[in-house]
């Protein structure tokens, strides 16, 4: 008995000692502080005097870090809002991004609405239906600066997402839609080794997959390679299947125009053909038999170990996870290709409106235009070509501390949809004439990295070459934007039946796809199509087409 007591005491002591050691070890804080807001000459709208209060809520993630004694309640952005605009921004709560919507729902349900906050499109619709948010149409007309209007209207899909019954009920957090379009990524070094040409058709892709499986392209003497990278997340941004389906002119999960009305891509006959092809590949051993239980992390292990050489994914994949290949195989090089086609029609890459979330204002908040001023501050100063380095260091993230990303301190930032493509065109021209003059800070950084790859043979720089280089992924996005893209034609707020039933229909689809690929008969797909219509799909299609009648242009 006594012995046990002592043992408990000792173990408790160890825990506490460890904790204390940990505390004392953590005192090495960087002592530098952010510069004060007054130090910068920012373009700002008229300042409120006396200042106004604004209550908001904020999501943060593991990348949100602070220097010195700054925190989420007191940082360069909150100080700037107060000093330049006279807006005292406070947060009711701050929560991790993974729990944001749950916490926000609890807050909204309990009737405790913040003044200004970011919502996803589901909650947006709900708040609108319960008349809890302010109509921002007039605020937008009167207060949005020229640049703000330009950014929000560059992409024709952005404003319709936040427009309900003709009124603008929120401000869209825009980004480049085209960035979500799938591309085909292939290990260039494997292709070279086996003496293969870039695939011209989906048949070539499948043949390449077969050869990658059989001919040991990584040369380790083991039969350990697969043809196609896949995980259980079928529509993931890497190792997803959209690209494969697009090669068959099938467009999973988006709405496409056909014979004068909108139809759902996942229930079209082309989808069946793509499934049949995947099933064949699985049968021949070209797809990992364990894909149904692999998550994104496991898939990146395969990529790191050079077990796979063909992947469908988006343009930034080289930043992650394709860069992992180089850890074990320094010569690894992934090259992007446009999605090839199964027949003589050009394949089109699918993409959807990039507005996943929007800013809304609580009904009755006396200063709905305040948020417009905050957004103007962002667009006028930080989406301009000539933003100087000092300003960027202070507000976006500084070069000395690359992991401190300061724009994440505020939710009131958005991105210019066309920027990626125009910047790439500028960069390509500069690369072609080997002269970086005329490039802005971002572009010239990219220029340096790409030059380092070619001039100094720095292999790690391939990541930039493969994305923003002359023949990199973004050049293909340019093609997609011109005439190789298939935009999701539905970009409104989710319809009634969609909010209720879409999640269940998505699960049903996923289960069906995995089952069929792993060998169940294709009639499973036909059964799915019938069920899809009867379990809500019919209503959804009708609602989507009603929306379309009002919004087609």
């Amino acid at each position: 008995m006594r012995k046990t007591k002592r043992a408990i005491l000792i173990s408790l002591f160890l825990v506490i000692a460890m904790f204390i050691a940990a505390c004392s070890g953590s005192s090495t804080e960087p002592d530098q502080n952010d510069t004060a807001a007054e130090d910068f000459d920012l373009k700002a709208d008229e300042k409120y005097s006396p200042p106004v209060e604004m209550m908001s809520v904020k999501s943060v993630d593991a990348t949100v870090k602070f220097l010195g004694d700054n925190d989420i309640h007191n940082n360069i952005w909150t100080r700037t809002y107060a000093d330049k605009l006279g807006i005292n921004l406070k947060y009711l709560w701050v929560v991790d991004a993974s729990q944001y919507s749950q916490k926000l729902s609890a807050t909204v349900m309990s009737g405790e609405l913040p003044d200004v906050f970011v919502v996803n499109s589901l909650l947006f619709k709900l708040l609108y239906d319960s008349e809890m948010i302010e109509d921002l149409t007039d605020v937008y007309e009167a207060y949005a600066s020229e640049k703000t209007k330009d950014v929000m209207e560059q992409d024709a899909t952005a404003l319709p997402v936040v427009t309900l019954e003709g009124r603008m009920m929120g401000l869209p957090l825009t980004d480049a839609s085209i960035a979500g379009a799938p591309l085909l990524w292939i290990r260039q070094d494997w292709m070279n080794k086996l003496g293969m040409a870039p695939p011209q058709s989906m048949q070539d892709v499948m043949e390449m997959a077969a050869r990658f499986v059989k001919e040991d392209p990584d040369g380790n003497g083991l039969d350990d390679t697969f043809g196609l990278a896949m995980s259980k997340d079928l529509w993931s941004a890497y190792g997803g299947l959209q690209g494969f389906f697009n090669g068959f002119h099938a467009y999973p999960r988006i709405w496409i125009e056909r014979d004068g009305s909108l139809v759902y891509g996942s229930v079209q006959p082309e989808y069946r053909e793509a499934l049949a092809a995947l099933q064949e590949m699985y049968k021949r051993g070209e797809i990992d038999p364990e894909f149904g239980v692999k998550d994104a992390v496991k898939l990146s292990e395969d990529i790191a170990n050079s077990r796979v050489g063909i992947e469908f994914g988006v343009w930034w994949n080289p930043y992650h996870p394709l860069n992992l290949s180089q850890a074990n195989y320094p010569d690894a090089y992934w090259q992007a290709f446009p999605i090839p086609s199964i027949d003589d029609k050009t394949a089109k890459s699918q993409y959807s409106a990039a507005v996943y979330s929007m800013i809304v204002v609580r009904k009755g908040y006396p200063h709905p235009e305040a948020v417009m001023k905050m957004i103007n501050l962002w667009t006028e100063n930080f989406l301009q070509d000539d933003t100087d380095q000092k300003l960027r260091d202070a507000y976006l993230g500084d070069l000395d501390n690359p992991d401190v990303i300061k724009y994440k301190y505020t939710d009131f930032h958005l991105w210019e949809p066309n920027n990626m493509l125009t910047a790439h065109e500028k960069l390509s021209r500069a690369l072609a004439r080997r002269d970086p003059s005329g490039l802005n800070i971002d572009e010239s950084q990219r220029y340096q990295i790409i030059a380092a790859y070619f001039d100094q043979g720095i292999k790690e720089a391939w990541v930039e070459v493969a994305t923003n280089g002359e023949n990199g992924a973004v050049s293909i996005l340019n093609e997609i934007a011109r005439d190789r893209g298939m935009l999701n034609r539905f970009y409104g707020a989710p319809t009634q039946t969609m909010s209720e039933k879409m999640a269940a229909l998505h699960t049903m689809e996923e289960e069906m796809v995995i089952k069929v690929i792993m060998g169940e008969p294709l009639s499973e797909f036909d059964a799915f199509v019938n069920e899809w219509y009867s379990l809500g799909g019919e209503d959804i299609t009708r609602e989507v087409n009603d929306w379309w009648k009002e919004n087609r242009n």
Binding site: T4, A22, D295
Partner: protein
């Protein structure tokens, strides 16, 4: 002891041990895997080379974790939570169990009060009412929000009631004859006799407080007030891969940083690993004892 000598029994024993060994290995494997990951280089970890032995042994991830304020702070909050929560749980459990274990002649309204407790096991108010009550009582965003709402663990109360009932009435009568009141009887007779059950109940309450994460996420208004498991939840959760954008790249890299993740998981396990073995020997006896009615 004759049966052991039969041949059939020997065979059974051998297989029994093999089976038990395999099951034990199955339980220990994930822990060893996490430990090995935490001590490997991240290149080895992200290539999936690590199984149960570290590859390229190093302790960098532990240094990173110990220098990571968020982790250390969350650890501290969890320790505080346990230090406050477990004593309050125990006090409430004992004080509720004693009267409810009396006979009906001693405590007339016993039935009503017992149901008053049990109904909370059967029905919950739901997330929103729960949240609103905590908000209206002003507990939101303080450590007490993690301690007070769960102050009376009803399951533990029932366990203890059943054990108290099993204590022979004669002991209580004898004490009463010697002039002891209820407080004295509880403190000097019942509690010393029920140490195994108390240990079990303490363990339940300790594990409950240490492992709880959801209440921290919902009730704390600031990520710097998260207890350890809420913090852990935010680092181990995976993102919805279909809506990833290039802005999430930094986050993706952190999520894929498996060595530091494993180190944090492992450190979070240590306190329980330390305490569990000492309370565990009461655990089985305590649970069964509470189950037998006198």
């Amino acid at each position: 002891m004759n049966i052991i000598r039969t041949r059939g029994h020997k065979v059974f024993l051998v297989f029994n041990y093999i089976l038990l060994f395999l099951m034990a290995a199955l339980c220990i494997f994930p822990i060893l895997h996490v430990l090995a990951l935490s001590m490997s280089t991240s290149a080895a970890a992200s290539s999936g080379k690590v199984v149960i032995f570290p590859v390229d042994f190093n302790l960098n991830s532990y240094r990173y974790v110990i220098e990571n304020n968020a982790f250390v702070r969350a650890f501290g909050i969890s320790v505080l939570r346990v230090a406050l929560g477990v004593p309050i749980n125990m006090l409430m459990t004992i004080l509720a169990a004693y009267p409810l274990s009396r006979s009906k002649s001693q405590f007339r309204a016993k039935g009503i009060f017992t149901w008053f407790f049990i109904i909370t096991i059967l029905y919950g108010g739901g997330l929103i009412p729960w949240y609103m009550i905590i908000r209206e009582t002003g507990l939101l965003n303080s450590i007490w929000a993690l301690v007070i709402p769960g102050a009376v663990p009803v399951f533990n109360v029932i366990l203890l009631i059943n054990f108290f009932r099993g204590i022979p009435g004669e002991l209580e009568e004898a004490a009463y004859m010697d002039g002891a009141g209820h407080g004295r009887i509880l403190w000097s007779i019942f509690l010393p006799l029920s140490i195994p059950t108390l240990a079990t109940v303490t363990l339940f309450s300790l594990l409950g407080h240490w492992n709880a994460w959801f209440d921290g996420l919902i009730l704390m208004n600031d990520t710097s007030k998260y207890p350890l498991q809420s913090y852990m939840q935010t680092i181990v959760i995976s993102r919805d891969p279909t809506t990833l954008t290039v802005r999430d790249l930094e986050l993706l890299k952190i999520i894929n940083e498996r060595t530091t993740k494993s180190a944090q998981l492992f450190i979070a396990m240590i306190p329980i690993i330390c305490i569990y073995p000492f309370l565990q020997r009461y655990f089985t006896t305590g649970l069964v004892l509470g189950g037998i009615k006198g």
